[in-house]
């Protein structure tokens, strides 16, 4: 167990699977106490349990982040129990059905925006309120290459992720003098359950893979490594950054 984040309390939303899970495990390996927040409590508990088994410190909290009141309650309890929220990684997000804009449904719009945009806002608001009390903190939002570029059939996801970029930068500027840094990672396609669920067609998979000049997908660990750097004191002059971790996708 390394000690880069010793005695730090970290919240990871969407920590029960995919990129969030990778971030939760990486933060725990570096000594942080990790609160794994997920709508699916079974997944969150599995991750927390596996971290504990490997000598790390973690617990699981169930929360639907699209419910701002539930987020407030859950984060308030976390701060009370652990004394602080030093690091936050807002990773919870969902994919959208692969449809061109004219064919999209209102219910899909509402669902994607509720989780990916309102959810991040609700978490950031609760985290910022606690971090302002502390006078310090770091927030890393998991945005997407879809915060910087578009992909046909993904207009709702793109809209939500452009919104996350806007929230990130605005909050970064607002709290730059309060000791709170706010940044985002923009991952390309990553090997996760969410990706496999959204991309089932092998032709679509090849198309997506070829959009990355490295001609491969990323791994949750590769995203987590960027999160570790942005969360650490090494990045103390970095705020409002959107860091692409995408095998070269957005360089094109």
């Amino acid at each position: 167990m390394k000690s880069r984040f010793k005695s730090k309390v970290a919240i990871v939303t969407g920590g029960g699977s995919g990129i969030g899970q990778g971030c939760a495990e990486a933060l725990a390996q570096q000594g942080a106490t990790v609160v794994v927040v997920d709508a699916n409590i079974d997944n969150a508990e599995k991750v927390a349990h596996s971290i504990s088994e490997q000598g790390g410190s973690a617990c699981a909290v169930q929360c639907d982040i699209s419910n701002a009141e539930a987020v407030n309650q859950a984060f308030h309890n976390i701060a009370n129990e652990h004394g602080s929220i030093d690091l936050a990684v807002n990773s919870a997000g969902i994919a959208c059905p692969n449809l061109f804009t004219a064919d999209t449904q209102e219910s899909d719009f509402d669902r994607v925006i509720a989780v990916n945009l309102k959810g991040i806002w609700a978490c950031m608001r609760a985290e910022l309120q606690q971090m302002l009390k502390q006078g310090s903190g770091s927030i890393v939002n998991i945005a997407s290459t879809m915060s910087l570029r578009v992909h046909p059939g993904n207009s709702l996801y793109v809209a939500s992720k452009f919104g996350v970029a806007g929230l990130t930068r605005t909050a970064a500027v607002e709290y730059a003098e309060s000791g709170i840094r706010v940044n985002a990672i923009c991952p390309g396609s990553v090997h996760t359950a969410m990706f496999s669920g959204a991309v089932t067609d092998s032709k679509e998979f090849s198309v997506l893979k070829s959009l990355h000049p490295m001609n491969r997908l990323g791994t949750p660990e590769e995203i987590a490594n960027a999160v570790l750097w942005l969360s650490s004191d090494e990045a103390s002059f970095v705020t409002g950054a959107l860091l692409a971790v995408d095998g070269g996708w957005t360089a094109q």
């Binding site: 995203i223 090494e234 705020t239 409002g240 950054a241 094109q252």
Partner: protein
């Protein structure tokens, strides 16, 4: 194991003891890299290498005019002869001649284009040729916030830094199949000799720009060095064609 253990790194523009190049060299050495410090100023660079050698192994100085293609070829030969490989190249050498456009001269324009942009092109080209043989490598080109936004008195400098940004993205796409990553770092206000020169020439404009930094302060050389260490290490294996902004929030606002 240290983050850059046994990697062979070349960093250009390391002569200034207060500069970003030397800061990166110091951190890379501390993280276990074998480092070549390069600069056109041979005397200063030998001193810098000696300073780092007190606490690290395998630190070398290399006299290099980044605007000369024969000099780059010779540098690559030297590194290949010594270690047989190059893992990390930081194209950091750069000059700033702050001038309002109306007072600027062709000579000063060309000098900045040569060191900053031509130097980065030659370094990336020849560095990649040596890296290619092992199918792995990380090239880090030091751009600037002036490569993202306009800055008064920085027109030539901004042209070079904006050029470095897109040049690096093209190189990243072309070199991805060869296993070579290319990224840029965009420092904002960092306490270095170049910044002190800019402060003198820009007067009130400088103060106005500094006040726009949301963190209301300058950064230090180590802030940039840490970002270079991340991009140089295997931690950033999926990062290429990316731009890392180290500016206290300046360009986010």
């Amino acid at each position: 194991m240290k983050r850059l253990q046994n990697k062979v790194a070349l960093i250009t523009g390391c002569a200034s003891p207060n500069g970003i190049g030397f800061g990166i060299a110091r951190l890379f050495a501390a993280e276990g890299a074998r480092v070549f410090l390069a600069d056109i100023d041979a005397d200063s660079i030998a001193l810098r290498a000696e300073e780092i050698s007190r606490e690290a192994q395998d630190i070398h100085s290399l006299s290099l005019d980044v605007t000369s293609e024969p000099a780059w070829l010779e540098a690559m030969n030297t590194i290949e002869a010594r270690f047989g490989r190059l893992d990390i190249l930081v194209n950091n050498a750069g000059i700033l001649i702050p001038q309002y456009l109306q007072e600027s001269t062709l000579e000063d324009w060309s000098a900045q284009l040569d060191v900053n942009l031509l130097g980065t092109f030659l370094g990336t080209k020849h560095g990649a040729n040596l890296m290619r043989r092992h199918g792995t490598g990380s090239i880090i080109n030091i751009s600037s916030v002036a490569g993202l936004i306009g800055v008064p008195t920085n027109s030539a400098y901004s042209a070079t830094k904006g050029g470095i940004r897109l040049f690096s993205k093209c190189a990243a796409i072309e070199l991805a199949p060869a296993g070579i990553r290319v990224n840029t770092i965009h420092p904002g206000f960092i306490t270095t000799d170049i910044q002190i020169a800019a402060q003198k020439s820009m007067g009130d404009d400088y103060q106005r720009m500094l006040e726009k930094v949301p963190m209301k302060r300058s950064g230090v050389v180590d802030d940039v060095a840490y970002s270079a260490a991340y991009l140089a290490s295997d931690e950033s294996n999926y990062v290429t064609g990316s731009e890392l902004v180290i500016d206290g929030g300046l360009t986010a606002s």
